[in-house]
Symmetry: C2
Subunit: 354 residues, 2 copies
């Protein structure tokens, strides 16, 4: 038995894997593998349009928001966003709450002015910055809703008048938020949406009108919208796995149902972390992530012993990010609650023995 | 029975599909699907390094050439190449021999001067331009070795002193050429290398030193090289399918063996096209592609009737590109010769009846 707590690529629902496997042999009765079909065929066009419609429905998007399946991961969005929307003589506001957000800031600096309106860097990113002001002239405010590496999450969303841009790679569709308020949302699929190799982008048409410079075709959101997310050959299989994951989420009852389950999972884990003295959660309590729980064991010998124990019991992916150390347990949508209880049992047993 | 003549995504070897299916269930005994494994794990790092080593071996690369697995397709390389290597006050030479090459030219214009040194556009791209001169001051010469849409292929490679950049998307590893002569080669995987979602880039270290401007991290070939092709989360599954295809090619005897087979396939098809009066191949004989054979049937009623016949007999993907019309039969590495003989038999039968 393997318990997959990977931070991403992470666990997928067994139903998704089963359907993906079937499509590798014969995709929808075509007699061809999904890897061998043309992307400009009715069979694949149906995959894209169903994926877009399901995203729209699950996120309760407004009719002016467009859904795209792109390539290159969030790291590509880090520069694609400012290249499109940050003029050389303009300014964009960024919240600096984790290493991924700080990479986005670095990329933005290549295109225009960057105002870091709030930062928790000095505190090792162990909390979400608060009390920041966003200048009215900012082209947009960029936030990271969940910090995968540091284990923090924004629980209150900014109430601002400038366009809001969010990297939601590690918590998209894990909880109900008002997705309509965002000018642009992006998320690498390999955490809550599917497999690595596709990035979901949700962009409001009003934002498309704010483009500030001519950009290459592949970086032009408008061209992707005009071409129905098929400007060039899309990552066919990754898009299909994304559709399967969206279907699975809908069958589970959608965002509200998965949020309830995710709350139960994280409550169970943090309760163990708070009550067992061997373990020490390290981020501000009010900013704890429901997706990635980060904690340490202060005694290095015990740390090693716990890591060995996890390995022996098939608990995979619990080592903290190399920049933080310690442990990180990821609780993405597809992780069954039984895996969390197996982990907390192991924690209790380990705590008792030490 | 389905005969897959798709132009890309195209046919893959059954062995590759079988191994891919196995990895979807349990990747290398990890107990996890290949879609769920971390990319920074020894198991996946081994996939990347074996993929690089096999590419090196099969293409007989020089030790100074680096192999990368990137995202975004050839369309991304269309702008990434000039963004890195074409200065605003510089010039790059382009050969205009097909619609894909013309898209590359358009993207280059955003970054610096473009000199189209030869063009067959006026002739509907039915031949490869000849007798062109490349200015010595050009930053590079960009060529497309095989024109997927028009069905032409370069059989003599340019003998020039400026760095040579080639889009080899539709004929990479299909024939022996001196890959060492290229400063940069790129190829979308979905024709001869695997599934859509990954782009192979081979770049010489000398070329990396010719970078002309600061570019975003994801567009910086040097950063990809420094990070072992794992600057961010790679398209894990697509890279794996690429490795499986490279392994398959090696097991077939490598490039020389596949070239012999490919020659046999295309000779069989062109022989039928030349001898059966119903069909008319439309490109210059000396520039015919070994990968994509393009032809027409002049009588519209017969054209429709042949299309119906293909459909009825499970011949998939034979419709010409929408910009050219007529028919296109793709003969990628993975297409068995038996499929070509089945198609030529159908042609003979159809010709006899009409």
């Amino acid at each position: 038995m393997v318990y997959n707590f990977n931070a991403g690529p992470g666990i997928l629902p067994p139903e998704v894997l089963e359907d993906a496997r079937r499509a590798l042999t014969d995709f929808n009765g075509t007699g061809l593998s999904i890897l061998e079909i043309g992307h400009r065929t009715p069979a694949f066009e149906a995959v894209v349009s169903e994926g877009q419609a399901l995203t729209r429905e699950l996120m309760d998007l407004s009719p002016t928001q467009e859904v795209l399946f792109l390539q290159g991961g969030a790291t590509t969005q880090f520069y694609q966003v400012p290249m499109n929307f940050l003029a050389a003589d303009g300014h964009a506001a960024y919240l600096d709450a984790g290493i991924w957000g700080s990479k986005a800031i670095k990329e933005a600096g290549l295109w225009g002015g960057v105002e870091v309106v709030g930062s928790s860097r000095e505190q090792g990113y162990r909390s979400i910055p608060r009390g920041y002001e966003v200048p009215a002239h900012a082209a947009y405010l960029h936030i990271t809703t969940n910090n995968t590496v540091e284990g923090t999450q924004m629980h209150e969303m900014p109430d601002i008048s400038v366009p809001l841009v969010a990297d939601m790679s590690s918590d998209i569709l894990s909880r109900r938020i008002d997705f309509r308020r965002y000018a642009l949302i992006y998320a690498g699929a390999q955490k809550n949406l599917g497999a690595a190799g596709v990035t979901m982008v949700v962009v409001d048409r009003a934002q498309l009108d704010r483009q500030v410079r001519r950009v290459p075709a592949m970086l032009d959101y408008r061209q992707h919208v005009e071409n129905g997310s098929m400007l060039n050959t899309p990552p066919v299989f990754a898009v299909y796995v994304c559709l399967l994951t969206l279907r699975w989420l809908k069958s589970k009852g959608g965002v509200d149902a998965i949020e309830a389950e995710n709350r139960e999972k994280s409550a169970m884990l943090y309760e163990a972390l708070d009550s067992l003295p061997v373990f020490r959660p390290i981020v501000a309590k009010e900013d704890r992530s429901g997706m990635n729980a980060v904690f340490v064991i202060d005694d290095p010998a015990l740390e090693k012993s716990f890591m060995d124990r996890c390995k022996a019991e098939g608990m995979v992916g619990v080592r903290g990010h190399r920049s933080v150390g310690g442990f990180r347990v990821s609780l993405y949508n597809a992780l069954p609650i039984g895996h969390v209880s197996a982990f907390t049992e192991l924690m209790r047993d380990f705590n008792q023995k030490h």
